[in-house]
Symmetry: C2
């Protein structure tokens, strides 16, 4: 294996809970109160898919216009959050170690610029790193398009890629791309759910992953 593809929110930055609160408030302002745990379970999908999934669960349809307005308001609220780009424990050390070891890595996120800029900055991800944003590479997760785009830009084969993510959607997409999925608990999803979605290994967070790279044949 010779390359890593990382999800961003909940994997490298501690933003899942802030996203949940921002979505809840944006939906509430639009007249729809959705319990937080239902939103949490959908984080990691694109905003459009999340709205579709929630509207199914709560039995209320949104027009594309309403959906976009709620998503935009969610982004606005999220960007105000004081920990909007806070790296998770171990994330910076992990990326440093890969850089030092000359192991290529990329970011594949359902988020979009400029919303993800504070996170990329906090992680010192410069323009030399492949970052595939949501909606820029075909269909969003759980479809594998974002991972294919990373793999293609990194110039490696699918079977050479580790995908690291905190959401079941990351692991489902990794499985569809025939990549080796690694789950992290740092987005608040339980280990059993990550394994069921196809994770080959599950670690607490990037701090545990950086100490466990030898288990993946990397030192």
């Amino acid at each position: 294996m010779s390359a890593f593809i990382f999800d961003l929110d909940g994997t490298l930055v501690d933003t899942v809970y802030a996203h949940v609160m921002a979505w809840q408030k944006a939906l509430d302002e639009a007249g729809v109160f959705v319990d937080a745990w239902r939103i949490h379970r959908r984080i990691g999908m694109s905003g459009g898919l999340l709205m579709r999934a929630l509207s199914q669960e709560i039995g209320r349809n949104f027009t594309p216009g309403e959906g976009k307005a709620i998503d935009d308001r969610h982004s606005e609220l999220f960007n105000k959050h004081e920990h909007a780009g806070k790296p998770l424990r171990g994330a910076i050390a992990l990326l440093k170690k890969l850089k030092h070891a000359k192991i290529p890595f990329a970011i594949a996120t359902s988020g979009t610029r400029p919303g993800i800029d504070p996170s990329l900055k906090a992680l010192s991800i410069d323009s030399g790193v492949v970052v595939v944003e949501g909606k820029k590479a075909g269909h969003p997760k759980p479809e594998p398009d974002e991972f294919y785009e990373c793999q293609s830009q990194l110039g490696v084969k699918c079977e050479e890629c580790f995908v690291v993510g905190d959401a079941v959607w990351d692991l489902l997409a990794a499985g569809r791309a025939k990549m080796f999925g690694i789950g992290l608990l740092s987005g608040g999803t339980a280990a059993e759910e990550l394994f069921k979605a196809g994770a080959f290994r599950v670690y607490s967070d990037t701090a545990e992953l950086v100490d466990s790279l030898y288990q993946l044949g990397i030192e």
Copy 2:
């Protein structure tokens, strides 16, 4: 079975995520940044136990004075949250149905007054309902003291009690009290974790529970 004992946060009211954010900010202000998912996994314990558990995980000790200051600041931040007492889907209907069917119920929470007052008010829980607050009945969850206190005040036997909770701590305490534990997903804990902690049944939320009472022999 003839009585219900309910946890409050994450079981009847949608407050778990607001508690996570309030704890994170209070800890951050005290100079300790803890990733949100680690806090989430400890919600439902008393504030004191949560601080002890976190300090173990992050390898940083707090004096009792520091612990209390952080807990107080957490309560202050939580109370400012706009959804501080928002009932979860189905919670009001469930309590109404039990009242109507003359099935006794009580609340056993790690929270304390006045922090829990908005939640009790939103749920129309009046002075006629047994409410056992944290720290008022011996040791907090996962010890069974709060549930024993409810059972005693309700005048029923332990084996007649259903305990309904969203956290593994509720179910561990229910098991120790020889009560019948029912898990809900509405606090963001996965079904597998609730079953492993001893849940006999797991439902999505109080809305699913109210439709499933017949499965518990109640109509």
